[in-house]
């Protein structure tokens, strides 16, 4: 086709000396460039080119798909960009509008080292201001010469110092930070929010808070403070592992205080330990012990059974299963009447009362009180109660409070129904979210009898130390052994007291629980709910009752 006559300008014939190599000879009779029709080479080349071509095209489709993915995300949540820049996260307030959590505007500090007028000076000034950073940190940033982050949320003092430097390399980006002015007091209830972490109410109510709405809670800063202080003193005194307390209105369900110890300071997220982060009131469950006996009494009253006039012989103990034989060592009397079973807190009496009812009725009753269902409280993470798989074989244990693990908040809710005239309630943590109906689950008679009974327990029984001068108190102690390596431990106990006031027509409920207390107020060997939780209850109620009996704390 082409003649290599030297006229064809398409031929390339570089001179040999051009590439200064004698071996390479571009002068070639065979028409180097135009005439290379080696079919084999060509077809191979085309085929492999096609493969790379297809690879490139498919990668481009992948990229396009990625663009769609990234840009389409925005459609679903159009407010993200605006909330980041404009709307500040809402405050969390207590019932008297005291601030529990709020957001403040801060700055993030970046440096653009390329723009610096005097790098050495800037480096020295920065390491002077941020002494907590290691010198290698600045060394690295200044060597990189990039746009780099120095610190997030710098303090006003640091900001003022930076302003006097006057180097164009300093770049401040607007940012904001969540602060908790009450420090530890509400920590286990509110949780925290940082750039990376978010928990509890901050997480559960995030949707409302992000929109900038303020969140008003039913809790009271003063009450919460008193409860936490008293509980903390007792925790130290009894050398307990953990403690918790709740103050609640039994009619409206409003929670005035919810304390769980040990707690943490949400302003310093780095100091949080695993054992401090849980709100034990809702996120833990315990075998409650004798406190549950009061439900036996309610069951008897509700069915108007003759058994409430019987007497019970507790002298020989009771053989529950082949291995398990129980005794009531702490009671001197041999014969108890019905009220005394609860006043003295007799396990044998409770089992005997249950015997005349049977497990089915017991289960039905527990269901009616609401102990078997999952509580759903807005803002709180509540764990579900752990029920025995086989209720029949456990029913006798349940009658005196074992075999059934309850979250404290669910026990309180059920107990409220017993004392408030028989109405089922829904605990409230966030104001103005009340949508509960007045559902009556007991007769008013039963409730009245229970109130009399728990008043007697405080006057003459195991709860004597819960008395408060000038107030009618009713309540029930609880002591239970913790399970350790498959057996019930004699040393490690859960002690609790659940009490209401005024006892003739209860309005308020206070629940106190200690995990593994090692000492007690009466210096006796036995640590019980009566000598640990009851005295703490008394101290708390003495201090909070003047605040709590004001008008806006009761229902209607």
């Amino acid at each position: 086709m082409f003649k290599s006559d030297g006229i064809n300008y398409d031929n390339v014939r570089p001179k040999a000396n051009l590439l200064s190599s004698k071996k390479i000879n571009f002068h070639d009779k065979k028409d180097l460039i135009k005439n290379m029709k080696r079919e084999k080479n060509l077809s191979f080349s085309k085929k492999s080119n096609l493969i790379f071509f297809l690879l490139c095209i498919s990668f481009s489709f992948f990229i396009s798909f990625n663009i769609l993915k990234v840009t389409y995300k925005k459609k679903i949540n159009p407010s993200t960009v605006q909330t980041k820049t404009k709307i500040n996260r809402g405050k969390i307030l207590d019932r008297n509008n005291e601030i529990i959590a709020t957001s403040i505007d801060t700055n993030d500090l970046y440096v653009d080292i390329k723009k610096s007028l005097d790098k050495e000076k800037l480096k020295n000034v920065l390491s002077e201001i941020f002494r907590d950073k290691e010198s290698i940190f600045f060394e690295r940033i200044f060597n990189k010469e990039q746009y780099s982050l120095i610190k997030k949320n710098i303090s006003p003092t640091e900001l003022n110092k930076l302003r006097t430097v006057g180097d164009p390399a300093i770049k401040l980006h607007e940012s904001n930070k969540r602060v908790y002015p009450q420090h530890n007091i509400f920590s286990n209830l509110i949780g925290l929010k940082t750039n990376e972490l978010i928990s509890k109410i901050e997480k559960n109510m995030n949707k409302e808070l992000v929109e900038g709405k303020n969140l008003k809670l039913t809790v009271d800063l003063r009450i919460q403070n008193i409860v936490r202080e008293e509980l903390y003193k007792s925790l130290i005194e009894y050398k307990a592992k953990a403690a918790l307390a709740v103050v609640m209105n039994v009619k409206s369900g409003e929670i005035f205080s919810m304390v769980s110890l040990p707690d943490f300071n949400p302003n310093y997220p780095e100091s949080i330990l695993p054992k401090t982060e849980n709100n034990l009131n809702a996120e833990a469950r315990y075998e409650m012990g004798s406190t549950l006996k009061i439900f036996n009494a309610a069951m008897v009253y509700e069915s108007e059974s003759e058994i409430q006039f019987n007497e019970f012989d507790i002298s020989d103990g009771y053989q529950i299963t082949n291995e398990k034989h129980i005794l009531d060592d702490h009671i001197d009397e041999k014969i108890l009447n019905f009220d005394d079973v609860f006043i003295k807190s007799s396990n044998i009496g409770s089992v005997k009362i249950l015997e005349s009812f049977g497990p089915k009725k017991q289960k039905k009753f527990f269901k009616k009180v609401g102990l078997t269902e999952n509580l759903n409280i807005k803002g709180l993470n509540v764990v579900s109660n752990k029920l025995p798989i086989n209720w029949e074989s456990h029913s006798k244990f349940i009658s005196y409070g074992y075999g059934l693990s309850l979250s404290p908040i669910s026990l309180i809710t059920a107990f409220s129904s017993l004392v408030n005239g028989g109405y089922k309630i829904q605990p409230l943590l966030i104001k103005n979210t009340n949508n509960q109906k007045d559902l009556k689950v007991f007769s008013s008679e039963t409730s009245k009898k229970i109130n009399d009974l728990i008043h007697k327990i405080v006057m003459d029984g195991t709860g004597k130390k819960a008395k408060v001068r000038g107030l009618l108190i009713g309540g029930k102690t609880g002591t239970s052994k913790k399970v350790e390596k498959g057996n019930y431990s004699e040393e490690k106990k859960i002690t609790s007291f659940i009490g209401v006031f005024p006892a003739n027509s209860p309005e308020f409920l206070t629940f106190v629980l200690f995990d593994e207390p090692q000492k007690n107020v009466s210096n006796s060997k036995e640590t019980t709910g009566g000598n640990t939780a009851a005295p703490t209850f008394s101290k708390i109620v003495k201090k909070i009752s003047p605040i709590i009996t004001k008008d806006n704390y009761t229902k209607n």
Binding site: N49, Y72, K75
Partner: protein, 368 residues
């Protein structure tokens, strides 16, 4: 066929040129001017630029680029090869000069400077080396002489210059395109395997000795190693833009992104013109690429096939690397987007690539 000696045919520039590629290129230039005019308002004063300097400079580059495309596409094959040999030697000399005689900028010796103009000679290496390599490969396939080793020698010189600068991304780009050329030329595996092995060795060496390469790769795979401010801003821009964009000049996030006018121009396009428009731009690039491939598949000249696909690959790789970096698909690599990004050297280089491509397509048509 002797008729193609007819000089008239060559003077008819418009009828010989590939219109699809030319129009696509003009479209890309237009998008570039639009983005640059949007950035221009924001950059005023920020980088000590006088008013409109960025846009004015960009328009000058556009004109220079169009002249280069026009002139190059009129060349004959022979002249094109001489020309590429010339710019190859020239850019190697300039690269050496950049390393030894010019001060370091942004931690690298890539630029040579005259007064206010700076130029990156390694950009010119890309098209010229690919064309020369195609010539040498063609020769090797016929004669089986030392031309292949001359090819490797060229590559070694280029690689060592690029790593000395250091310009690791450019090295990877050139090597990848060259390797595809070699692989598709049916060279003996005994030669290819040592090449690939030595590349891996060089890569590992670079990874452990060049701090920024290690940093970027580690940063990509383990994002807590350092701050990826640019990438997060870039992704934010895309998110903010959505499918249909905020409108020209309305972008807020991408304007604060460092290097938005060069390496991260695509983030600006994503924010102001929207995701669908961004895909349209990719489609324009792909159209050029597909067109080149269709023509190269029709050709029966080994040199034209190899050099066309090589040039097309270098062009599309640059696009893919740039866009993938701004979408966080691959580790960040500062590479410009052809014809859209600001930057004289890359503009000239892209123009040379398109000029060569138009020339090769014209020659291919004329051969038939």
């Amino acid at each position: 066929m002797i008729n193609n000696l007819n000089p008239l045919k060559n003077y008819n520039w418009w009828s010989n040129i590939d219109k699809l590629i030319l129009i696509s290129t003009l479209l890309l230039l237009l998008f570039g001017v639009i983005s640059m005019s949007s950035i221009n308002q924001h950059f005023d004063g920020k980088f000590y630029f006088s008013a409109d300097l960025l846009l004015k400079k960009h328009l000058i580059f556009c004109i220079v680029g169009l002249v280069i495309i026009f002139v190059l596409s009129q060349f004959s094959l022979k002249h094109a090869i001489y020309f590429s040999l010339f710019i190859f030697v020239l850019s190697i000399v300039l690269c050496v000069a950049a390393i030894f005689f010019f001060p370091e900028t942004k931690g690298a010796n890539r630029w040579i400077k005259f007064y206010n103009l700076s130029f990156q000679p390694s950009e010119l290496l890309k098209p010229s080396f690919i064309v020369l390599s195609a010539v040498l490969l063609g020769r090797y396939k016929i004669k089986n002489d030392y031309s292949f080793f001359l090819n490797i020698l060229c590559l070694i010189v280029i690689s060592s210059l690029l790593i000395l600068q250091p310009d690791f991304g450019m090295f990877i780009l050139i090597f990848a395109v060259w390797l595809i050329q070699i692989l598709s030329s049916n060279i003996n595996l005994k030669i290819i395997i040592p090449i690939v092995l030595s590349f891996i060795l060089v890569f590992l060496l670079c990874f452990f000795t060049l701090e920024h390469v290690k940093f970027r790769i580690m940063n990509f795979f383990f994002s807590e190693v350092g701050d990826n401010y640019q990438i997060s801003k870039s992704l934010d821009s895309f998110e903010n833009g959505g499918l249909f964009g905020k409108g020209i000049g309305e972008g807020t996030i991408s304007k604060n992104l460092p290097d938005v006018h060069s390496d991260f121009i695509f983030a600006l396009i994503g924010e102001e013109l929207g995701g669908l428009f961004a895909i349209l731009i990719i489609a324009v690039y792909i159209a050029i690429y597909v067109r080149i491939h269709i023509i190269s598949q029709r050709s029966n000249n080994f040199f034209i096939v190899t050099s066309l696909t090589g040039l097309a690959n270098i062009f599309i790789f640059q696009v893919i690397i740039n866009i993938s970096s701004s979408l966080n698909i691959i580790p960040t690599k500062g590479m410009t987007l052809p014809f859209i990004s600001y930057g004289g050297s890359s503009f000239i280089s892209s123009s040379i690539i398109i000029g060569f491509i138009l020339l090769l397509i014209k020659e291919e048509k004329n051969a038939k």
